[in-house]
């Protein structure tokens, strides 16, 4: 148990920055639940609990990283009951992170019930809203069922987000992003199924969570044995797919090193979820613009590995740092133009199909372009490992993009609204140019000793 608690503590409090997020998150959740009893709940207070849960989730972002590193390693197999303890720590962490919002909801319902009861006792309830005992009991049962229903959703959403985070942070390649997007695709489908069927009970909820835990746990614990058994096995179809995907790209070796040689994989994993989303009724302009803007930043985000990957180009090629920047920039734009083109085509296609307002397309197309430019140069600015400054800047840029997307989607098409959106997009364009200039200047004095792939990735590449 000691090891499980230590691991959970490490996930939540492992580094100074994450510790800050965790403590802030817990404080906000506690404060929100405390205020529930004393204050009416305006929107900002509901947001406080949401941001608290989000901060708590971010604070435990070390969990997928540490879990991935330890699970893939060999040391864990020598530690007494290592894999079982690691697994238990993960389940506990996911449950702890998933619990606050459903719990707040339950407390809120409970308090509402008590207050209503007290009002009734004081005779303050008017006759037309008086609730009899049977209705009260139904409400109580309903709120408990609602708690389990929310907990299931929250649990699976947390698992999905951690999985996405794990794929993206552990692989740091298009394949990693692809797997992350596939998880998001799965998450988009499962909650929507649950929304259609609100009959989840406590039993059903627990069965879902238990089934997932059992399957994941069994898979995780048996994985080393399976791996040892299947070592040396070759699955012919996979090998042939690998040969097709990995066909030689003579003359574009730099693209291969940078991971920009083949844009079709990324296009595929972006287009499929979007097309899938159209089948489950996402026709809100705000949602579309929101998602497409997020997706358009993915291609650029891959650029954050450009510096460490181009180390090998600089060591072996005859480029100066400035020339290398131009080469890398060109390579990324060649790659991103395909991805961006497909997203814009999708936007126009879906917009026409779903009869979205033309003003949305007019505002949306430049926004996609700007977000790709911003994320690409933000990525290129990472000439050492991702540090606090880059992380904070990325968060600010993402929030700004989201804000503009929502404003654009909500604008009524009046000239005033259009002017605001255009002005905001102009500001973002200037920011993109500033980021390019910063990236260029950083590349000019890049220190190749500090700019190298993560050690765990180097080890895996060597293995």
């Amino acid at each position: 148990m000691k090891a499980v608690i230590r691991l959970v503590m490490t996930y939540a409090l492992g580094t100074r920055v994450l510790r800050g997020f965790t403590i802030a998150g817990i404080a906000m959740i506690v404060l929100a639940s405390f205020l529930l009893e004393y204050l009416p709940q305006p929107v900002w207070m509901l947001w406080m609990s949401f941001w608290g849960a989000a901060a708590f989730f971010i604070g435990s972002a070390l969990m997928p990283v540490i879990f991935g590193r330890m699970a893939r390693g060999r040391l864990i197999r020598v530690l007494p009951h290592g894999r079982a303890k690691l697994l238990a720590s993960v389940f506990i962490m996911v449950t702890v992170v998933a619990l606050p919002l459903p719990l707040l909801e339950l407390i809120g319902s409970h308090l509402a019930m008590i207050q209503h009861h007290q009002q009734e006792l004081r005779g303050a309830t008017t006759a037309h809203i008086a609730i009899d005992a049977a209705a009260m009991e139904r409400f109580r049962r309903g709120s408990i069922e609602n708690f389990w229903w929310t907990l299931t959703g929250s649990f699976f959403t947390t698992v999905g987000l951690y999985l996405t985070l794990w794929f993206i942070t552990s692989q740091r390649s298009i394949a990693g992003y692809a797997k992350g997007l596939l998880v998001i695709l799965f998450m988009m489908y499962v909650p929507s199924q649950q929304l259609r069927d609100l009959s989840t009970t406590m039993r059903g909820s627990l069965i879902q969570i238990a089934t997932f835990c059992f399957l994941f746990g069994a898979g995780f614990l048996l994985w080393p044995r399976w791996q040892a058994l299947t070592l040396g096995w070759r699955f012919a179809p996979l090998a042939s797919i690998g040969r097709v995907l990995g066909r030689p790209v003579a003359g574009r070796e730099a693209d291969l090193v940078l991971g920009t040689a083949n844009p079709w994989l990324l296009i595929g994993v972006q287009v499929v979820p979007i097309l899938f989303a159209t089948t489950i009724g996402f026709y809100s302009p705000a949602v579309w613009l929101f998602y497409l803007t997020i997706f358009s930043t993915v291609a650029g985000a891959i650029a954050c590995h450009a510096a460490e990957r181009s180390r090998v180009l600089w060591l072996r090629g005859g480029w100066s740092r400035a020339e290398l920047f131009v080469l890398v920039e060109r390579s990324f734009w060649r790659h991103n133009s395909f991805v961006l083109g497909s997203l814009i085509a999708l936007m126009v296609g879906i917009g026409s199909y779903a009869a979205l307002p033309i003003s949305l397309l007019a505002a949306g197309v430049p926004l996609l372009l700007i977000s790709a430019v911003l994320s690409t140069y933000l990525g290129l600015m990472v000439t050492r490992s991702m540090r606090f400054a880059e992380g904070a800047l990325a968060v600010v840029v993402m929030l700004a993009l989201m804000a503009v997307a929502i404003i654009a989607a909500r604008s009524g098409g009046s000239s005033k609204d259009i002017v605001i959106v255009v002005a905001l997009e102009a500001v973002l364009t200037v920011a993109a140019l500033a980021l390019r200039s910063a990236a260029k200047s950083r590349w000019a004095r890049i220190d190749w000793m500090l700019c190298r792939p993560d050690r765990s990735l180097r080890v895996r590449a060597a293995g």
Partner: protein, 292 residues
């Protein structure tokens, strides 16, 4: 009852058609310090992996503290320490947190030993692992394997990235640990001098087989270089009993032989009508000659 730490019989491992190890039988007793030698790809790491149960043998079995290595219970694992070739430290943590994480898995973690070793080895508890050098990381990896005072310590190329001072400290530490009596240590290394200095038993892996297992003195007595000085040249087809290699290019032939005995020497001297000078070899020379 005999308290064998590791015992293997007819152990073998193949990956598809490639046989990495075959027919290995050995036992390791408490107090043994075994040095595993072999060229790159000889199967040293695979052998350690088999002992730790990371991979399944394709023939035979290996038992650790009486348990099949692939099914070691937690109590048996608590008696094993392992230093992998590539460290598996958590980059995001600092040294103190990393130690705390590993320590939490053991009931008998020796915090005082850890503190002392960290001081002696110059590892700061507040240092962030990501910013540590390869050598420092390796030191920390080794320390983490020692903290629970394991009865069996397996080290896969532990000193490869250590500087000479750290290597010396590590070897001294290993000597101290091995002198505690009930502990068995198995370590693979390319640095033959370290094995020569530390190991009381040597395993030499060659072409997937355990070419030699025994103590260093027996090895040195068994494998020697012969300088033949005779009036009758050694005929081309004439063999020398136990010869591993014969060189005829010099004015006097030389040979490396195994299991050399006085009677064999008398017989050879009679055949060449001269003298046979027996030269003992260092471990490094033996290793090189075996792989020539």
């Amino acid at each position: 009852m005999k308290n064998t730490t590791v015992e293997a019989s007819h152990l073998g491992k193949a990956y598809g058609a490639t046989r990495v190890l075959q027919g290995l039988s050995f036992s390791v007793e408490p107090g043994d310090v075994v040095g595993v030698l072999g060229k790159n790809g000889a199967g040293k790491t695979t052998l350690l992996e088999l002992m730790l149960g990371f991979t399944l043998p394709t023939e035979g079995e290996v038992r650790v503290f009486g348990h099949e290595s692939t099914r070691m219970p937690g109590a048996a694992k608590a008696r094993v320490g392992f230093v992998p070739q590539q460290d598996e430290l958590l980059d995001q943590l600092n040294v103190a947190d990393q130690i705390r994480v590993i320590a939490s898995f053991y009931k008998n973690w020796d915090g005082e030993l850890m503190t002392r070793l960290c001081e002696e080895w110059g590892i700061r508890a507040s240092a962030r692992i990501k910013s540590m050098s390869v050598g420092e990381r390796q030191k920390l990896s080794i320390l983490l394997a020692l903290g629970h005072r394991p009865d069996l310590l397996l080290l896969d190329e532990p000193v490869a990235s250590l500087d000479p001072i750290a290597r010396r400290q590590f070897l001294e530490q290993l000597v101290e640990i091995s002198s505690e009596g009930q502990r068995a240590i198995i370590f693979s290394s390319h640095i033959v001098s370290d094995i020569e200095r530390l190991a009381n038993r040597i395993w030499i892996l060659k072409e997937g087989r355990l070419f030699w297992q025994g103590d260093l003195d027996s090895l040195k007595e068994s494998i020697v270089r012969l300088h033949l000085r005779g009036s009758i040249p050694l005929p081309e087809e004439a063999g020398i009993p136990g010869a591993i290699s014969i060189r005829r290019d010099a004015s006097f032939p030389t040979a490396i032989v195994r299991d050399w005995s006085d009677s064999a020497q008398v017989e050879l001297e009679r055949r060449i009508d001269g003298s046979v000078e027996v030269q003992p070899l260092g471990l490094e020379e033996i290793f090189v000659e075996l792989h020539r």
